[in-house]
Symmetry: C2
Subunit: 139 residues, 2 copies
DNA sequence: TATTGTTATACTCTATAACTATA
DNA sequence: TATAGTTATAGAGTATAACAATA
């Protein structure tokens, strides 16, 4: 029986709320969270197929197909035929998509940094000490 | 120009990862997130009207009505007419709903609590001090 | 036959607009 | 006329099943 259930409860709620709040700042408000998540994955893993992306994002292929259709229409993703395998289409984030994701990350950091500036040095110090612990919990 | 950009960057990534990790270790599959969230709110605020609950959950009244219908069918919520105002129906979580939420929260917290048990008392103390700061940042 | 991507269809959660009953 | 709740309808995002093209 874990002894930290009450601490766990508070931490879980606080982390969920802050995570939601951070995600609210977006560079392109016409894009939903699944769109951002898929684009971010494509940025990380580079050229990939629909199936690979669907597996990465833990959704089905038809669902990811719909998301990719929308991203292609926005000009954030390019589909190109595979060189030797005619069944496959290779997906890749475009320069425009990459720029938009970069701007979004900057906006998120900016908002959070402004909140942190409003804290006292002692409070920032407490948060600094907590960050490695949060990282370790997430491992 | 905010001075806390580097702290912000670390905190943003740590919170996003931990949030994702906590969501992965969710054990309950019988209730969707909106159901769970609405029930949790009813548990916190006690007797309330549909409109109040919709505002609390930041959804529209028709959307919340649908969620409440389902919760009533499950036996987790009771609707009773208001004593003097015939337009109002008072909502309240049932004993069964309360029990179910308590069990679900325990399941969701189990993984995190086990991680926290593995920390030193000093580390848990650091996290305890950081939680109110995380809450304030999320406001 | 197996794999890749797509289309068809349905379910959930969300919204806006319109309706009923009551104040 | 205004308010509380409900019903009607529509738009995302998700799923499974069925299909076409290719290996």
């Amino acid at each position: 029986m874990p002894r930290s259930l009450s601490l766990s409860d508070e931490l879980r709620v606080a982390v969920a709320r802050l995570s939601r709040r951070i995600r609210q700042s977006r560079a392109d408000t016409t894009l939903s969270f699944p769109h951002y998540s898929a684009l971010g994955s494509m940025r990380m893993i580079g050229v990939c197929t629909l199936s690979e992306l669907a597996e990465q994002e833990q959704v089905t292929a038809p669902s990811m197909n719909r998301t990719v259709n929308s991203l292609v229409e926005h000009g954030y993703v390019a589909r190109t035929p595979h060189a030797s395998d005619g069944r496959k289409l290779m997906l890749e984030i475009t320069e425009s998509g990459d720029l938009m994701i970069e701007q979004t990350k900057r906006q998120r950091n900016l908002w959070l940094a402004e909140q942190l500036d409003a804290l006292t040095p002692a409070e920032r110090s407490t948060l600094s000490a907590a960050i490695p612990l949060l990282q370790r919990l997430a491992e």
